[in-house]
C-alpha cells in the first residue's frame, strides 16, 4: 500500500510533469494541478493537529523533555469523572493499539467539550505514569490528525517539504545527465539549454533542501550543521554543480562550452548515486536510515506502521506536486533559453544579410 502510494507520487509526478513536453507552454489544467497540489500539500502537511498516546507522553517526559506538553487523542469517560474542588479527574482512553486508559486531571479554567467523541488534549505526565495533567485543548473531533513522534513533535512535518526537495534535486540532475548525453550525440544547442536549466533549477532545489534541513537541525540536533553523512553529501553535490557553473563561465566559445559542460555533467553524475543513496546508508549518522538506525527510515522501511497512512498520502502528494513545480520552473527556463537562442540566431542572420 505504502510502496504503491509513494511510487505513484514519484512516478506520477515525473510522467505528468513531462506530459506537455518541457519546451511547450503549460496548459491551464496542468498549472492548476501544480498550484492546487502544492496548496493541498501545505494544508494537509501543516494543518492537521498531532495526536499521540499516553505512552508517547510518558516517553517524552522520561527521555526528551519533562517540560513538554504532548497532544494525546482519546475519549473521555465523563460518567466516571470525579471532582475535587475546582479540579476534575476524568478517565481517558487513548487511541493506541492496544488502548490504555489513564486519569487526566483538568485544572480549573479549561472547558473540555463534553459532547465530542474524540478530543486531543495537550497533557503532561503527573505524579505517575497513569496520571496526566491537562495543559491545553488542541482539538475536538478532528477530521484528520497526524501521528505524534516523541522527540520530533511538530518538527516531523518537515518530512513533507525537506524530502521532496532533495528528491527533486536528484531528478533534476538525472535529467541534466540525460540531456548532456543527448547533446554529445546530436549536438543540438537545445539539448544544452535543457541540461543547464535542469542543473540550475536542481541546484536551487538542493539549496532549499539544505536550508529546510539545516533550520530543522538547529531545533532538533542543536546546531545548523553537524557533518552528518547526508549533510556532507549534499554539500559535495552543491560543490559539484557550483563547479559546473564555474567551468561554463570559464569557456567562451559556445560550442566548446556546451561540450565540455556536458562531459563534466556526465562524469560528475557518477557521484550522485554514491553520495545520495550509498554513503549515507553505510555510515553512522543522524539521518533516519543510516547505519546506526535499525530501520531503513520512514520512507523505505517495509515494516508496517512506520509511516502513518495520512502521512503516506500527504507524502505521495507532496512528491507529486514538487515534481510538477520543478517541471514548471524547468519549462520556463528552457523556453526562455530557446527564445534567447532564436533571437541570437536572427541577429546573426540579419548581420550577414546586411553585409
Amino acid at each position: 500500500m505504502k510502496a504503491i502510494l509513494i511510487s505513484l507520487g514519484v512516478v506520477g509526478g515525473v510522467i505528468v510533469g513531462l506530459v506537455p513536453a518541457v519546451h511547450r507552454s503549460r496548459p491551464r489544467w496542468w498549472m492548476a494541478l501544480c498550484i492546487g497540489g502544492m496548496g493541498l500539500t501545505i494544508a494537509l502537511g501543516l494543518l492537521p493537529p498531532l495526536s499521540g498516546t499516553f505512552r508517547d507522553a510518558v516517553i517524552t517526559w522520561r527521555q526528551v523533555n519533562p517540560e513538554l506538553y504532548v497532544p494525546v487523542a482519546g475519549t473521555l469517560d465523563w460518567d466516571a469523572a470525579v471532582a475535587s474542588g475546582d479540579t476534575l479527574v476524568v478517565p481517558m482512553t487513548d487511541r493506541a493499539i492496544p488502548p490504555t486508559t489513564a486519569m487526566v486531571v483538568i485544572p480549573p479554567g479549561f472547558s473540555v467539550p463534553k459532547d465530542a467523541s474524540v478530543v486531543i488534549l495537550a497533557v503532561q505526565r503527573w505524579k505517575n505514569d497513569q496520571q496526566f495533567v491537562v495543559r491545553g485543548i488542541v482539538a475536538a473531533d478532528p477530521i484528520l490528525a497526524l501521528p505524534f513522534i516523541p522527540g520530533l513533535e511538530e518538527r516531523a512535518r518537515n518530512l513533507f517539504f525537506h524530502v521532496p526537495l532533495s528528491w527533486v534535486a536528484v531528478v533534476a540532475y538525472a535529467y541534466a545527465l540525460w540531456y548532456a548525453v543527448l547533446f554529445l550525440r546530436r549536438r543540438r544547442f537545445i539539448d544544452d539549454i535543457h541540461s543547464v536549466s535542469a542543473v540550475s533549477i536542481g541546484t536551487l532545489f538542493a539549496l532549499l533542501a539544505t536550508a529546510t534541513g539545516s533550520i530543522w537541525a538547529k531545533f532538533n540536533w542543536g546546531s545548523f550543521w553537524n557533518w552528518d553523512p547526508r549533510e556532507t553529501s549534499i554539500f559535495l553535490l552543491l560543490l559539484i554543480y557550483a563547479a559546473y557553473f564555474a567551468l561554463r563561465q570559464s569557456i567562451e566559445e559556445p560550442q566548446r562550452r556546451a561540450q565540455i559542460a556536458a562531459i563534466y555533467a556526465i562524469v560528475a553524475f557518477v557521484t550522485v548515486p554514491f553520495l545520495v543513496f550509498v554513503m549515507p546508508r553505510l555510515m553512522e549518522g543522524l539521518h533516519p536510515g543510516s547505519a546506526s538506525d535499525q530501520t531503513a527510515g520512514p520512507i523505505l522501511s517495509t515494516q508496517p506502521g512506520v509511516l502513518h497512512p495520512l502521512k503516506q498520502i500527504v507524502f505521495a502528494l507532496s512528491m507529486f506536486s514538487f515534481s510538477l513545480l520543478f517541471f514548471w520552473l524547468l519549462s520556463l527556463r528552457v523556453r526562455s533559453g530557446i527564445l534567447a537562442l532564436q533571437h541570437k540566431i536572427q541577429q546573426v542572420q540579419e548581420m550577414s544579410e546586411t553585409r
Binding site: 507552454s25 503549460r26 498549472m31 501544480c34 498550484i35 502544492m38 496548496g39 501545505i42 494544508a43 501543516l46 494543518l47 493537529p49 506538553y69 497532544p71 495537550a122 495543559r135 491545553g136 485543548i137 488542541v138 511538530e154 512535518r157 543540438r188 544547442f189 537545445i190 514548471w328 520552473l329 520556463l332 523556453r335 526562455s336 530557446i338 527564445l339 537562442l341 532564436q342 533571437h343 540566431i345 536572427q346 542572420q349
Partner: protein, 50 residues
C-alpha cells in the same frame, strides 16, 4: 500563554507558508503568460527554429 502557543503556532507557520506559496504561484502564472505572449510574437516575426 504557553497553552496558546501549543495550540496556535502551527497555524502561524501554515499561514506564512501559504502566503509564500500564493506569491510564488502568482509569479509563476504571470511568467507563464508573458512567455506564451513572447513566443507568439517570436513566431510571427521570423520564427525560425534553431
Amino acid at each position: 500563554m504557553e497553552a496558546f502557543l501549543v495550540r496556535y503556532s502551527i497555524y502561524v507557520v501554515f499561514l506564512i507558508v501559504l502566503v509564500i506559496w500564493i506569491g510564488i504561484a502568482g509569479w509563476l502564472w504571470r511568467l507563464e503568460r508573458r512567455l506564451v505572449k513572447l513566443e507568439q510574437w517570436a513566431r510571427q516575426h521570423g520564427g525560425n527554429r534553431p
